[in-house]
Amino acid sequence: MKGKTLLLGLGNDFMGDDAVGAAVAKIIEKRGLPPTVDLLEGSIDGFTLLGLMPKYEKVIVVDAADMGLEPGEWRVFDAKPELLGKNFRTLTHFFSLGEALELAERLGLKLPPIKIYAIQPKFIGFTGKLRLSGSVAKAARAVIASLQSELC
């Protein structure tokens, strides 16, 4: 941990549009980030996030989320357990981010502000390699632009 802001790109490269958060993070990392921002990408469980997030002043999460929108539509909102629910996509096996936030709230843990960039996926299923749907890839580019203007 070096920075004050944690950028989390969540997703599994092998699971279609589930990978969008990780894909966004990979591209942003290649383009360069200021030293105040730490970046993590991949499948990170809610338990680990619970230990990680309190160390930062601000957390930004990029992830696929089923919001009932058209594929490729995306939204930015502040994380709240009741907004995320238990199925917010973070990882198959562990606690979701939503559950981790609910646990933190019930325990009275102080977390930094968490901003979510949520992208509506088109297809989530085994693809065996990074393969985003066209509309989701287009959304990823827009999210990258927005994040770069926010962070850099």
Partner: protein
């Protein structure tokens, strides 16, 4: 309840699929099966032709929890094949990192996944209010273990500092001192967790079976040792593991199973405890005493308790290792390894039990043959035998109670994280 079919169907997207199938007619158990529908993953074939220096990073990906253990089992085997003896410093750091994985995995299992069962809760969230301080202790222990792995291994899982021969990066003395301080603070959290688990009502179940784990004369074996069994007085060198472990398959399951002296055996925390109890650090012995765990324990549900004991042991032993490292001083070590043909067998106790890697190298140091014996596969037959023995105790209870009892029994083995979380999906037919 005269006739009942239970099918606990568990679907997972990546790994760890397992189903419990039970048929009862006229209050008689007709069928009890533990099915694993996992697809083969071909890691043994994947590493063939690969240079030894690449192998450890490939096989780490076998498991998202035990990546460190897989790495060390492979490194041990490859170093033996290459005729390389690691330094004392290297061994101490490896043992420290392995403790990090053990604390991380055990805490995740007993704290987040098994504990809610004892309170009739679907997950740990309801416990946040009823057992706030203990839940916070579990979160702190889990975080500490992740940070230990980050510091020594370069990242939380799938370490990048560990290579055949030694390390690509050493921690600084200051980093080790800070880690030592955190570990010392964690002793209070361990005691809080021990107190909680000592208050739980563990299901009353006993089935005599064989326990297998590594054993060493001078320490509670995690990193290395010889194969020991509760059915034998002698130990067996790792290089002769195929004389001890006999793998087999059954038609309704894709995963291999294993037996040794009996129809099945158990590996994991309880097996290690039963074999190595006397080598526990004082904090581990204190934890065992407080929770009423004594060797030889034949109750598989007590595997959760043995995990808590091992966390206590690992915390205290990590402090001892750090003290040793600081006293002797950390220094960069240059190693030279000349590739050669040979075969080596490595064995490590990962959270779920004995893990063996076996490699044969050619003159250029490329893998020509490999074999891996995975802990969960060794436990499958024992899980099924336990289910068969436990089910008659549950007859007369409601469907929900029977299902929960069987799930808890499987979960006690900590077969894998995905299994534990997904057993909660139940289908009744």
């Amino acid at each position: 309840m005269s006739g009942i079919d239970i099918h606990v169907h568990h679907v997972s997207r990546v790994e760890g699929h397992g189903n419990i199938v039970v048929k009862v007619e006229d209050n008689q158990v007709k069928e009890t099966r533990w099915e694993i529908p996992e697809a083969p993953r071909f890691f043994e074939a994947m590493v063939r032709g690969k240079h030894y220096s690449d192998v450890v990073f490939i096989i780490s990906r076998i498991c998202g929890i035990c990546g460190i253990g897989h790495t060390f089992s492979a490194i041990q085997a490859l170093e033996k094949a290459l005729g390389f003896e690691p330094s004392e410093q290297t061994l101490l750091l490896r043992k420290l990192l392995l403790h990090g994985e053990t604390i991380q995995s055990h805490t995740l299992h007993f704290g987040y996944l098994a504990l809610p069962d004892f309170f009739g809760a679907p997950n740990i969230i309801p416990l946040a209010q009823s057992h706030r301080e203990q839940v916070l202790a579990i979160i702190r222990l889990h975080r500490l273990a992740n940070e230990l792995c980050d510091l020594i291994g370069g990242r939380t899982t799938h370490p990048i500092t560990t290579i055949v021969g030694g390390w690509t990066r050493l921690p600084t003395p200051e980093e080790l001192k800070e880690l030592r301080r955190r570990l010392t603070e964690a002793i209070a959290d361990v005691r809080a967790v021990v107190k909680l688990f000592a208050s739980l009502e563990i299901p009353d179940f006993k089935r005599e079976t064989e326990y297998i784990a590594l054993k060493k004369p001078d320490e509670y074996a995690f990193y290395d040792g010889e194969i020991a069994s509760t059915d034998e007085q002698h130990t067996t060198p790792l290089s002769r593991y195929q004389e001890k472990i006999h793998e087999f398959i059954v038609p309704y399951s894709t995963a291999k199973r294993a037996r040794s002296n009996r129809e099945s055996y158990m590996v994991g925390a309880l097996a290690r405890f039963n074999i190595n109890y006397e080598k526990l650090m004082p904090l581990g012995q204190e934890a065992a005493d407080m929770m009423g765990l004594k060797p030889i324990c034949y109750n598989s549900f007590m595997n959760n308790i043995a995990q808590v004991v091992e966390v206590a042991h690992a915390i205290e032993d990590s402090i001892r290792i750090i003290d040793t490292l600081l006293a002797r001083g950390l220094r960069e070590e240059k190693v030279q390894i000349k590739p050669r043909a040979g075969r080596g067998v490595g064995g490590v106790e990962v959270p779920r039990g004995l893990l063996i890697h076996d490699y044969t190298l050619d003159e250029q140091g490329r893998v020509v043959d490999s074999n891996m014996i995975i802990p969960t596969n060794q436990n499958h037959q024992n899980i099924e035998e336990d289910l068969k023995a436990f089910l008659p105790q549950l007859l007369g209870k409601s469907k929900e109670e029977i299902t929960l009892g069987l799930e808890m029994l499987v979960r006690a083995y900590d077969p894998c994280i995905s299994c534990s979380t997904h057993f909660l999906k139940v289908e009744w037919k």
